[in-house]
Symmetry: C2
Subunit: 1014 residues, 2 copies
């Protein structure tokens, strides 16, 4: 009977658990050991969450600091928290903070002490800096009765050279260990399993560490690249009898990791090889299914493999990522679910131990005990299962397991502190977390019994709440649902890739069509047409658009003025309804519309989809905002006097939109104008006319009355100028380059005959956006962000980074990594799945960019690219260009270039860096990479930009989260996607009415009945 | 024993009360009488508050409608409430609404029926249209055993001719009645009192009806004017043996009415006259004190007078007025308090009946019974007390009182429906109010016993809630105290008048001082000075102000830029604190500061005080708003990502302010700029430099750090232009004329060398504000509002009305009354208490105004004023000028003239009127006088103005209640004193920070502790 069985199993689990605890108790470190003091230190940190965070942040930046002075400075900045309401600091820290200047003697001593302390702590979790060191350290484990597996530290790979180095390190580990392994004293418990001998050499390998680009949206390309690097390592292992375990990392790489593992093991060369393994994570519902699939596949292959079962180590970042992307978390949201899944999956594995050799990595005594009880209950020989733990954690547990004669393998990474910091931090967090099993085990608070509870008995177990966005708003939002951004599209999912390809095909079938203007909902032809070419392949004519003129503009203005009258009489709610309908439609047509962006303006599929998502966000957000404004008609009614304050339309709004976000920005401006009851005329960038027309068409289909939204494509010098100067246009909303923007502003500010007043002008223009790299920046992170900011979409976004200002101390290091990483970027047709950088928008843009580079070469040093004779390849492609040691006043550092051209400027101090950053007339976006709280704060206060991005790329702002817009020469008007945006398209109006008529008034309704004092 | 006494009195009261009820019951009208059906109609109205309101509004407009078509149209507009959620209309009304077109046959029938119905109803409360009619009607009362007092209808007196007519009507009533009174059949109960015979002729007279201007702030002038008109009436009465009772009206005229009454009766001519009386109101705490004073005074005089005790008939308007002015209500807020005060005061009167002959006006049976019981208890002969009731109300009660052989006097007004509408409406409201004693008496719901309860037994009596403002806001305000406007100053109070005179004296003592510029908190002299002259008396030099130049502007810009850096680092709360401190200071210095406005810019004391109050409101409101913005830092924090949106300063703000509201508008702009953390430079209008400097000084005294607010007076062509063009100025906030405004805009829009970007420009400019007078407007109300809007402060306010657009049907009537009323306005020195219109600002302004009038005379017909050779009188005075039948396109109707010059334009229809109103490039304020809901709605939708005022004057907008500002050529920017204003002085900034560092982040604080899924 299963009940009896399960009761017996539960009893056995508890028995084994109690034994582990008892033995571990005996093995607790004494107060004379370093281990004891480390544990003590961690306990102490966990009592003060704020201090812990400060310490973590300090530890995190430590390896990046280049002098004792810098260390002392950061120590003070992170740990000095006087006067902000927290309890007093522990005395040792207070004493350590007693220095005034970081380069004083005390400062230096504190810096040395901090380095020493962190070094000791980090070493606890790392096998050694070199393979030799690691092997020696591991032999100590073997002597204590544990075997081990080694991994190479290093997570972020931004240059192919580093990926190659990782591969070489794995190869070296395999070869060097295999050379010395035979000399190790034998231990039958460790070196053999019930099915035979085990390799002494065991390596854990991360696939993402051996390639520089892991692109989930390009599985074929990625697989090819990984296999190319993986095969030599497997080959070496097979040749020298070593074991290779493929580690599992983030959810995003899981499926492809499994696929690559299976694919390579079916290759003839490895078809019969069994000294290899993989990891299955069960902190997600996928885990059990993955395991079942793997068992099925292994049975088909017929040769055993090893599987390490883990719960999973990326709970924070997976859930955070899901929340940020608008996805359901792929993970269980309750800890007991992971624990229960672990036990269910363990049973599956032990039952199939003949083909899937089971290894279990956990420090959870309940989980370990349950695995051992299962082995017993299922009648498997001892040590069918292998237990695994991390080096530096739970040593008393390890000793208990060894005493119980189990095979225990210690996982240990190899590498220096610098590259292991992420790993070190993860271990620190784990050891100090409230829910940490280890922490609970060794605290006096939780009784052993409770720690051994069946996870299904989960009433005792507190839920782990999913992280949630923290939204702080004026209370006016209180009764509204929160606005939610459109969820990201995951091209790691096959169905999304398929939908995209289908949309490409459909779009291609419509190439060459004619796209008329639209006025009063009717198509209007001008007699003349202009072509949109595919910038990746200009021989392809994407379509023909009507070339409009001033005469058609007149008609459109008339239509818009007329439509405004009735449209503005509708309530904000009714208008919001139409926008929301459009939101739904655009969501449904996402891939279809994205395909046109790829073909007309050369965006990659990711960029194209992001553009549509932003358009959806604008529609949804402005509908949301319209409802908010509609629900907050402001009243100040006094007895006998009503006072209203509300927003009326401006009248006729001309929307002039750019090519860089042809759907998002057009939609944003048009939706805002429409929401506030205006009549609107859209003039798209001529290079993005088809995309613009598609959005106008969609909004009209969504239910805008004819004439509310008109579409007048054409040349800027015809249509744009005519709109800006038109006496019937009340407002111009422009987004585009500074060059065009200034003209539009000048035109719009004229007072033409017949104008009723000054036009209201919104202009989001160009910029010369800078990122400052502080001397304590995380260089890898900074380089990655620079590349994305400066080179994605060929630097044509208005927020693209075109200046990097780097502090002297870090300059060389940063430049080396930047150039190395950027040199790996090869522009390609944007339609291809693996493309990260596509073409420039048109031949003109390419020509202007090349001229700018040529000019720049005369005053600055070109470090990468800039070869004017670059092969044509058919499209308007340009590889990244980097200039070094550029003078802040150089033309290259002052003038807008919409191309992948980056000026790197050297600064002697952070203050100078800020002055340089502020030293252009532009002020749109800016970035700073720093881990100095003081400098981050300084940047927040002093960088003259509309949008500041700290420790992240400066492109991609999301509606509502990062309201967007510049000041000074970068823009007139307030932030798009923010709480003040819609109001700009409206005229606030006041109506005061005297309602008292001979002593009675409706506002007095409840009062008038109570007079009669006569 | 008092207890026994009071118990006996209570018993007697109840006994008499029961008797009155019993007799009244018998006297109830039968269903065959008109009276019955009127009562039935009123009952029916009271069951549907919304319908009642609609009916009242219809009745109110009815006398103003000039055709059956108009009546039918309004009937439909008021009563057709289909589909707005109310219960279905009563069937007769539904049927009456069945017509489509107001000029259809049914429409005409309905109109006739409505007129007939209202006529019947109105006649119920009015004695007759002429004295003859009235006297005949009153003889019917005498036949029924009641005597009477007659009053002349008419409340709003806007022209002296009408006041004179009222006086003549009173004289005629006295004379004609006295002539026929001896022929009336005698009735000893009515014609004699215990102390002797009573005059048969009894007239009630309102003092405010016999003068055209009652100015509480000028008691001496008003008293003189009233006495001049009053004496002939008293003389006539004395001569013919008639009785004159001085009626009591609003609280604002009470004290002066009592004073005038006492003063005239001490004149030798009337020293011994006893056939006169006055009214005391006891619905206010003042009542008992007033009565005691009066008894004391009468004893001193030694000759009896009569006093009519009432509770008071202006509860609604008194309390509404108090709430609007920010005053405590002068009235009791609980009805039982009035009832109790009535009984206490009645005792005082009956005890002093030898000298103060008591009359009691009430329909409240409890009050009446108590009075009769008191008379008995105090041992006074019967009919020592006189009872009074209104004609047309409570007739069964009257019959009961007559049966009980009491002397009952019926109060009845004489006049036509038109002038009696206010009176009629008051009676309608009274009869249908829930708390109406009459209504309660004749409904079946309230038992007689309860109606006779002692008011001190007030647990049974529901409180009358005071009317309160209804504030509707976005919920963000929920936890904040509501902003409250500064309370009005009542110059009816002697202490305010005294304070003002003291301030004048103090200001005069400082005439001729030198006023330097202020930079960095230090006085700066330029070497040159310019003079401020008193426009009422230009020989007086008010003071000398430093004449600054571009060089001083440079210094100020530098100081402001520097100060901005530290000032903007302070929190919004800290900055709000300083503004609030300034609010308190300005409140304390109100009269002192106002005196300077009177002398420097020629405002009357009322206008000067209003200017300061507005300045106080701006300070308080922007402090309030700064706190609101400070408390709503918008956050969108996602796991690992913080997103802030907040408001940073613009930098250096130049404030260029006008002379018309030299303190309010300067303070508004400066306070907003300062609140948002900017460095500010103030350039006042040169004609208002001393006033400007005083405000800057006050703000600096209030705690602004040196350099935050700088003061640079001088010529517009020097300082104004230099500021507008300065590359270091980031924003210009201008308020002033269009002429100057356009220049400032053009200057500010240049991009001077060294400018970091486009300047942000706010400009509140001039206008050509129009008021539309619909054909159903309340002409008296419209004329009063036109005069205030067009001529107060000599038409120099930016919102001054300079065009009136009048519908054809009402044109002649309106023009006649307007010209008559305006001709009574004589400009005078603004310092004098009685002045309503002072001088123009300076000689130039007067010259320009005269030139404009001269020009206008060539194209339009001048109906009033415009005599260019107007006597100099020393000051820059100009009497009101009115042009009639002005063409909408005439220069006079298109161009801004800051002077008391009004263009009246004729329109054939309301639509045409709107087109004419919209037919200038300006769009600031506008007004409409209409009682057609459809047309009011049309005006709200179609009048292109920033601020629309319905049925009220278009000048005087109050901070927060009526956010203020224009569009088109009248202004760039949003409304001052509104919820979007402060943001204009700020740059919204977005900061997005990636806080995730290797898997941990502070935003994740609560989360990171819960990872450990490993």
């Amino acid at each position: 009977m299963p009940t009896n069985n399960s009761m017996a199993l539960e009893t056995a689990t508890r028995r084994i658990g109690e034994e582990i605890f008892a033995r571990a108790e005996d093995a607790m470190p004494s107060v004379f050991s370093m281990e004891y003091w480390q544990q003590y230190f961690m306990d102490w940190m966990t009592q003060d969450e704020d201090l812990k965070l400060r310490l973590f942040r300090f530890v995190e930046v430590l390896p990046g600091l280049r002098s004792n002075k810098a260390i002392a400075r950061h120590f003070k900045q992170y740990l000095d928290r006087n006067g902000d309401g927290h309890p007093p600091l522990p005395l040792p820290i207070q004493m350590a903070l007693a220095y005034r200047r970081p380069d004083s003697l005390i400062g230096t001593l504190v810096a040395e002490a901090a380095k020493f302390g962190c070094g000791v702590m980090a070493k606890q979790f790392i096998a050694g800096a070199t393979p030799d060191e690691a092997i020696s350290a591991m032999l100590v484990h073997r002597r204590k009765g544990m075997t081990f597996t080694l991994d190479v530290l290093g997570e972020t790979v931004i240059a192919d050279r580093v990926a190659r180095e990782h591969q070489e390190q794995y190869l070296r580990l395999v070869r060097e260990m295999s050379r010395v392994a035979p000399t190790w004293p034998a231990n039958p418990i460790l070196d053999a399993a019930p099915w035979g001998p085990l390799p002494r050499v065991n390596i854990s390998l991360k696939l993402s560490a051996i390639v520089s680009k892991w692109d989930a949206s390009d599985p074929a390309g990625t697989t090819t690249a990984v296999l190319e690097r993986l095969r030599p390592v497997l080959r070496a292992a097979k040749e020298s009898g070593a074991f290779i375990n493929v580690d599992m990392e983030h959810y995003a790489v899981k499926d492809m990791t499994l696929e690559i593992f299976k694919q390579v093991l079916m290759e003839p060369e490895f078809r019969d090889w069994s000294d290899c393994g993989i990891v299955i994570q069960v902190y997600m519902p996928d885990g059990e299914r993955d395991m079942a699939d793997l068992i099925r596949w292994t049975r088909k292959r017929g040769v055993p493999i090893t599987v390490r079962l883990v719960k999973g180590a990326y709970w924070d970042s997976e859930t955070a990522n899901a929340v940020r992307s608008g996805w359901e978390s792929p993970l269980y949201t309750k800890k007991w679910e992971s624990d229960a899944a672990f036990e269910r999956t363990a049973r599956m594995m032990i039952e199939n131990a003949d083909i899937v050799r089971p290894a279990f990595a956990s420090h959870n005594v309940r989980s370990i005990a349950h695995v051992l009880a299962l082995e017993e209950a299922l009648g498997k020989p001892p040590r069918t299962t292998e237990l695994q733990m991390l080096t530096g954690m739970g040593d008393p547990l390890k000793r208990a397991i060894v005493e119980m004669k189990q095979r225990l393998r210690v996982y240990a990474p190899v590498g220096d502190q610098m590259s292991g910091m992420a790993y070190f931090i993860r271990r620190l967090i784990e050891n100090t977390a409230n829910e940490s099993f280890l922490r609970q085990s060794f605290s006096q608070d939780t009784p052993t019994e409770a720690l051994l509870n069946n996870p299904l008995d989960h009433d005792h177990i507190p839920d782990t709440p999913l992280p949630e966005p923290y939204i702080q708003d004026p209370d006016e939002y209180a009764e509204m649902n929160t606005f939610v951004n459109e969820s990201d599209i995951d091209f790691g999912k096959a169905h999304n890739r398929d939908a995209m390809e289908k949309a490409f095909k459909a779009a291609r079938a419509q190439f060459g069509h004619q796209h008329p203007a639209i006025i009063r909902g009717e198509p209007v032809e001008s007699g003349k047409w202009f072509d949109s070419l595919n910038p990746s392949e200009p021989t392809q004519v994407v379509g023909h658009t009507a070339m409009c003129d001033a005469r058609i503009v007149d008609r459109a203005v008339e239509a818009a003025a007329e439509a405004c009258r009735t449209w503005s009489a509708r309530s904000l709610e009714e208008r919001a309804d139409v926008l929301e309908h459009a939101t739904d439609m655009l969501h449904d047509e996402l891939f279809t519309q994205a395909a046109w962006l790829v073909y007309e303006v050369g965006k990659t599929r990711q960029e194209a989809v992001a553009d549509i998502m932003e358009a959806i966000d604008y529609l949804r957000f402005y509908a949301f905002e319209a409802r908010r404004l509609g629900s907050r008609v402001r009243r100040r009614d006094y007895p006998g006097e009503t006072n209203e304050y509300f927003y009326g339309p401006r009248g006729v709004v001309a929307v002039i939109s750019p090519f860089c976000f042809p759907m998002a920005l057009l939609t944003g401006m048009a939706a805002a104008a429409v929401a506030m009851g205006n009549g609107v005329i859209v003039k798209p960038a001529s290079t993005a006319s088809i995309c613009g027309g598609r959005i106008v068409d969609l909004l009209n289909r969504a239910g805008l009355p004819a004439g509310v939204l008109n579409f007048v494509p054409g040349r800027g010098s015809d249509v744009g100028e005519a709109l800006a100067k038109h006496p019937g246009v009340d407002m111009v909303a422009f987004t585009g380059s500074s060059r065009v923007g200034r003209k539009i502003i000048d035109f719009a500010r004229q007072l033409p005959h017949g104008a009723k007043g000054y036009k209201h002008v919104l202009a989001e223009m160009g910029a010369k956006n800078a990122i400052i790299i502080d001397d304590d920046a995380d260089v890898d992170q900074a380089v990655q962000a620079t590349i994305a900011s400066a080179f994605h979409y060929s630097g044509q976004k208005c927020t693209a980074c075109s200046r990097v200002i780097v502090l002297d101390d870090i300059y060389d290091d940063y430049i080396a990594k930047l150039v190395e990483a950027a040199s790996g970027i090869k522009p390609a047709a944007s339609e291809l799945p693996g493309t990260t950088v596509g073409p420039l928008i048109d031949a003109d843009a390419l020509k202007r960019a090349k001229e700018a580079v040529d000019t720049a070469k005369r005053e600055s040093k070109c470090l990468l690219g800039g070869d004017v004779s670059e092969p044509g390849k058919g499209g308007y492609f340009m590889s990244p260009v980097i200039f070094g040691d550029v003078k802040p006043t150089a033309k290259l550092a002052q003038e807008e270039i919409l191309a992948p051209v980056l000026a790197v400027i050297r600064a002697r101090s952070f203050d100078e860096a800020i002055d340089i950053a502020n030293g252009t007339p532009y002020a749109l976006a800016g970035g700073v990479f720093s881990r100095s709280p003081v400098n981050i704060d300084k940047a927040k206060r002093l960088l003259e930009v509309g949008c500041l991005y700290v420790n992240r790329k400066i492109t991609v702002s999301r509606v509502d989260r990062q309201p967007f817009g510049g000041v000074r020469m970068s823009g007139l008007g307030t932030k798009t996607g923010g709480p003040d945006y819609l109001q700009q398209y409206a005229i606030p109006r006041t109506i005061s009415e005297n309602t008292m008529r001979h002593g009675f008034s409706p506002a007095n309704k409840t009062r008038e009945s109570e007079k009669a004092h006569a």
